[in-house]
């Protein structure tokens, strides 16, 4: 195992130290997840329900499917919660690599007063990323185990007075879930406001490399490539 992996795992172990808050999720980290139903009244377009973890792995590159928990994360003796987060990091890194390769030949987003060029570069980047990830599915990055872990990490910030505040903020600026196409590779709508993610929630989740961002729409979590406006992955009903 590389030293950087060891360090990552050590850091994540420290971050997850102690018993996590009880997971009241319908998901169980050790079991395949069922696709949760959309909130009543919402018209959410979803892809294939989350897969059987033992059969399918991340399909964010042309590489052979990885197991549900990536090898580096399955190191012997590693805190299982840290292993899940290390797995998440590997999946994010894999996305970033695919992205980097995909946009190599795309028009660059660089400063210009010609905003048509900026828009064209953004759209071009999205086209290249979608092409490189045409087989990507829901759960490739946000696996059921990872989503369950995120619920554990977010739970302390979503209870009590602070939790009520957090939920208010999440409602405050967010577009309605109906306005978002919950689909891998879908475009985040041009005119939709950017939902503000409470800083206290963000600091409980693993930090993402630019330009990836977490977005919470209603109760649902998006992993958004904020530069290309492409939905990398999503998970429903993460917020309870």
């Amino acid at each position: 195992m590389k030293v950087s992996h060891l360090l990552t795992v050590a850091l994540l172990t420290a971050a997850c130290g102690g018993d996590p808050a009880p997971d009241r999720s319908n998901y169980d980290a050790s079991e395949p997840a069922a696709a949760p139903a959309a909130t009543s009244g919402e018209t959410i377009e979803t892809q294939t329900p989350a897969r059987e973890p033992a059969e399918k792995g991340p399909q964010i590159s042309s590489a052979p499917p990885a197991p549900l928990v990536a090898p580096a994360a399955r190191a012997k003796g590693v805190n299982p919660h840290a292993a899940i987060l290390a797995d998440f990091k590997e999946r994010v890194d894999a996305y970033m690599k695919v992205r980097k390769d995909a946009i190599k030949d795309a028009p660059k987003l660089k400063e210009t007063t010609d905003t048509a060029k900026l828009k064209a570069a953004q759209d071009g980047m999205a086209v290249h990323i979608r092409a490189a990830r045409q087989n990507a599915q829901q759960g490739d990055v946000l696996t059921p185990e990872i989503v369950a872990q995120f619920r554990r990490l977010l739970y302390p910030e979503l209870k009590g007075d602070d939790g009520r505040d957090a939920k208010e903020i999440l409602k405050d600026d967010a577009p309605s879930p109906q306005s978002i196409t919950f689909k891998v590779n879908a475009k985040y709508p041009d005119n939709a406001p950017v939902p503000t993610v409470p800083a206290t929630l963000l600091l409980n989740l693993p930090t993402l490399p630019e330009p990836l961002q977490y977005k919470i729409i209603g109760k649902h979590l998006l992993l958004l490539d904020e530069e290309a406006d492409v939905i990398v992955d999503y998970a429903l009903n993460v917020i309870r």
């Binding site: 210009t112 905003t115 900026l118 828009k119 405050d172 005119n191 950017v194 503000t196 206290t200 930090t207």
Partner: protein, 313 residues
Amino acid sequence: MRRLLAIVVLLAGLPLSIGGQELRVPNKPDSVKFAVIGDSGTGSSSQRAVGKELATWRTRFPFEFVVMVGDNLYGSERPGDFQKKFEIPYKPLLDAKVKFYAALGNHDDAAIQKNYPLFNMNGERFYSFKPKDGVRFFALDSNYVDKTQLDWLDKQLAASGSEWKIMFFHHPLYSSGETHGSAELQREVLEPVFVKHGVNLVLTGHEHFYERLKPQKGIQYFIIGSSAKLRKGDLAKSELTLYGNDREYAFMLMEIDGDELFFQTINEKGQTIDAGSIRRVGKVEPAPSRTTQPVIPQAKPTPAQPGPRQQGK
């Protein structure tokens, strides 16, 4: 007779109108002069009216740059929108080489705006700039305050020495607005960093009104989210409020001269609705471990003559 009556009414209104249009900042030769606008990108007649007043006031108060506290473009962000919602309303300023420095609001497309050179973001969603020795501005992306941004801010502030430290971003950490209110969870994370490093002034928007707040932990806060949008009646007087106005569109002029910062808030008709100064007390020691409050801004409110639609809170 009707014509004569109209003249009498105009004359009666004249002293107030003239009084409200005085420059209330010192306008010293070597000071740092700037303007502040927020929630401005509508392309509406109100934005154009504020833009016109900005240009008019600049003939008397030659500010060198404008700080934008977010929601720089509402709705679509096609090339025509950049013209309609930014370049046309502020054309006289842009023609005069006045720089605009933008922070991102929740209606802004970060990927496009941070690469739009007229917003001077240099491809970053958070950044800092130093218009003059002794003064540094920090633009934050309050839509997404993650560890990366917090670490950057901590390092930048630690390195900024004894400068005026001025933050601008979209979501108000303190607010008396009924629609949004204080962004308490962003505050929980940002305020300790501000206090630790002796931030002096925080400029925000998001709420579509003007509010000058009581200094909080030694930091002066303003909300100026009414440069093109208004949410009338949304400002609920609270213990936080020193002065507020949710009836008129507004922008601010600011001037830093030594340890004093002067402000003047002006409506879309060119009338002053608020003015005053903040004194920076003491100097920030370049000691990163210092956790006590190093500066105590003192608001010295000198509200202008109330106009007919002014709402004091």
